[in-house]
Point group: C2
DNA sequence: CTGCAATCTTGCAGTCCCCGCATTTTTTGT
DNA sequence: ACAAAAAATGCGGGGACTGCAAGATTGCAG
């Protein structure tokens, strides 16, 4: 279904643009790299770049556009006897495992993103993009409305856990286990943020 | 000291630009308003616009640049026998009270921001901008390092509480009490996000 | 394998954001 | 009133992004 020559080429071009953007920006910084250079490095015309990514920043982040939806789906698929926190925590740890398994891509992404406040903001926004869907799923699970406090707060908090875990992963130069860092963060959250020591 | 004619004029111009940006964007949407129009509406040259705001988006948000620092200072000024959560919660509620007292400004801001994903991301980023300072203060209070899990998580969570409270304030068409919404959010956080009901 | 339709790529022209630099105007301290 | 400091302005330019229309590729039916 998804494996026509057309689709494979599209995926390859998309990835080539993302990798080119990532590596160029890693070397020179975001502002010193132009869209034209990225396009040239990926062997497409500058105009084609915008057929794949709406902005230069998006190409650098290179996030899968339907990933946010899949998070909501993953939460919905958790057994119904789990509390919302348990379900969200399990999904987050699983997601962390996938990201850590991805080889050098996420580490490189994190290094690049961490060096630019703009990209940092965009990444955080990307994690928050699916929040409404996640909140809706949580609302369904806990029997509350999607505009209620609990689902909104929980969806937002899960984004913070993700960002914090990633930040600390970077701080350890990616020697730590990302799933462990994620689980640790959720542990503190589930305990009500008690003062350490 | 701070009350020369010069400084008053600067503040007035800044506010004029912000209000002009806010009202124009509220009417027509972010993309349909140019910097030139905002500058004209505020009676300054287009070039001068950029002496006050680095980007068009910043003019629409119109956030006080030294507010983020003052949050960290407010946390540092809380009595030392409070737990970090208590201190942060108190500061957040106090901040909410100030924002709610500001008349129509924050409601208008929220309406405009909520209509644009880009602005939403920028606002979230702005709330997160002071996170590092807050995390540093918290680290000092709790005797941990600024790269440790606890201060990072707590600083991030406080941003989520702010965003969630603002979102729900908007959802009630600003009839609810923002400080109450803020306190409610922190109550759930401090309790470890228990499933409601 | 050939023609046709759908899709993708590309070039072109244009708008607008944002910046550095030099010049002019306004404010301040004396 | 005058010189120094600071702000406003004008000009020129690089680069992101878009709509449009033409050209190239791919999928499919015969």
């Amino acid at each position: 279904m998804t494996s026509g020559l057309r689709d494979r080429k599209k995926a390859a071009t998309r990835r080539a643009l993302h990798v080119a953007a990532l590596e160029l920006v890693a070397e020179r910084g975001l502002d010193a790299v132009s869209v034209d250079e990225i396009a040239t490095a990926a062997d497409v015309s500058p105009r084609t770049f915008f057929n794949y990514f709406p902005t230069k920043d998006d190409a650098v982040l290179g996030l899968d556009p339907d990933e946010s939806g899949s998070v909501a789906a993953a939460v919905a698929a958790r057994p119904g006897d789990e509390t919302p926190v348990e379900a969200l925590r399990a999904v987050a740890v699983e997601r962390a495992a996938v990201m850590a398994r991805d080889g050098e891509l996420w580490p490189l992404r994190m290094r690049v993103v961490d060096a630019s406040p703009v990209l940092l903001a965009h990444l955080a926004a990307a994690f928050g993009r699916g929040d409404h869907e996640v909140a809706a799923v949580l609302a369904a699970r806990s029997g509350t409305g999607p505009q209620d406090l609990y689902p909104l707060l929980l969806a937002g908090v899960s984004g913070v856990a993700m960002r914090t875990a990633l930040h600390r992963w970077l701080a350890t130069d990616f020697t730590a286990s990302l799933p462990d860092l994620m689980d640790e963060a959720w542990g503190v959250l589930a305990a009500g943020l008690p003062a350490p020591r």
